[in-house]
Symmetry: C2
Subunit: 308 residues, 2 copies
Amino acid sequence: MIQKLINNIKKTNAPIVVGLDPMMNYIPEHIQKKAFAEFGETLEGAAEAIWQYNKEIVDHVYDLIPAVKPQIAMYEQFGVPGVLAFKKTVDYCKSRDLVVIGDVKRGDIGSTSAAYAVGHLGQVQVGSKKYTAFDEDFATVNPYLGSDGIKPFLDVCKEEKKGIFILVKTSNPSSGEFQDQLVNGKPLYEMVGEKVAEWGDQCMGDQYSYVGAVVGATYPEMGKVLRKVMPKSYILVPGYGAQGGKGADLVHFFNEDGLGAIVNSSRGIIAAYKQEKYAKFGAEHFAEASRAAVEDMVQDISHALENR
Amino acid sequence: MIQKLINNIKKTNAPIVVGLDPMMNYIPEHIQKKAFAEFGETLEGAAEAIWQYNKEIVDHVYDLIPAVKPQIAMYEQFGVPGVLAFKKTVDYCKSRDLVVIGDVKRGDIGSTSAAYAVGHLGQVQVGSKKYTAFDEDFATVNPYLGSDGIKPFLDVCKEEKKGIFILVKTSNPSSGEFQDQLVNGKPLYEMVGEKVAEWGDQCMGDQYSYVGAVVGATYPEMGKVLRKVMPKSYILVPGYGAQGGKGADLVHFFNEDGLGAIVNSSRGIIAAYKQEKYAKFGAEHFAEASRAAVEDMVQDISHALENR
């Protein structure tokens, strides 16, 4: 799947991923109204609005991008109907040939971690049969519990040729509280990065590993160091746009081959119509605004990479 | 909710929690057969088997225990039908007056963390209405992302009088890989413990905080230190029984008032009928074996506490 991600990136010439994190206040009123008319102001109604919103965005941007990253929390908050909308979104994006990164940030130990790995990336046994449950291509994983939490994911990745992105240095302001603490003179995130490289060596694709890392765009200097610590790991870079990251900050997340990083934008793309820059599209044409925002983001990053 | 947990513990005289982590190979064949006969060997069939298994165990132990801890991974692996079985289990346990600790180990930042908090502990807004999604009483939370990940949970806890247990020192063998690393001469888990105490001060019940911690029974010496670092936090202690923890190891997790800790056992209770000690019950009477195992566990811990 890492090879498919790389192929998709080369095909689109766009090392980006669109975060499908549908907050209700992003969803234009006409979509909400229609969904509520059909299902009422219920969890089912909210889930329908999310699904229709996602579908229209995906239909407008799928040919420009290699991958999407649905954030499961935004679905899970609407209970079982929300989780069903997550599943429909994953399936639909895959039918559009997009690589799907499930932003689930799961992490547990032993058989529990194995259950998450199986549920999100693998196949679960039921009697004599096997089923996929959510079937994303990649999942994000939290490393706090150590190797016991990661290894079950590695096993499933090897079997299914899928991948994970492990949280190393997150994009939020307080990420340093624990992640930046010095351990033998080295920040904890670097130590986690070294483990990512080690775990990744066990699951190699052609050039890059199935095991990637999450490093926030908001910390470009740390990205520069981590790029060297994990040379064969793809870096998933959140924090571009709304969280403050700019194209010029991103160049050091990439390797010399122009590969090795994929930059996420969520709100900046899916709620583009709410920005002054794209207001001309109006709420009715929100998905066209998203397309324009994707084009601008690709140009910003390409420009930065050409000028590095 | 922390007060309800304490009241339930006092009423039952049992500082324990039963982990509802239904692996398929724990579920007796007669239950699986019945579920598959009705729904086929499908995700729905697996979910039905889990639900019937849980229900029978809960019916046999609810009067002896204060709380249950369903592990969502074991449900999530069966996709949307599995998540529905999780929800049914939560609702059923609450109808039996049990406190429900959702072992979800969620953790993200900002609005995403808020979505998890709302989905698991709070109420989600849909148009002009509000709904609960999963509605556990407590949730487990991963601290790796720092305060940005925790604060949205604190907000919901204050509003809803619910609680969280933050992972501090987990029970698994490799938990030390990152958690034990020394930061200024102090292990990281202790630093996380200090933050738990700080976060907990903002959300106090009568004696104890809404903010608790997870510390594994497998690390009794660290439990002793952490007990003092977080005097007002309840400690959820996994790792008893199957993972190797014994009653005598647990005494230092409790405060002098006999409160402050709640010990989890999953496999040791729900799959008790598979142990030689309880084999006499047979698979047909698996839930009676669970009841006997609960009684033995309560006695083991009471005995240890009396003799400390």
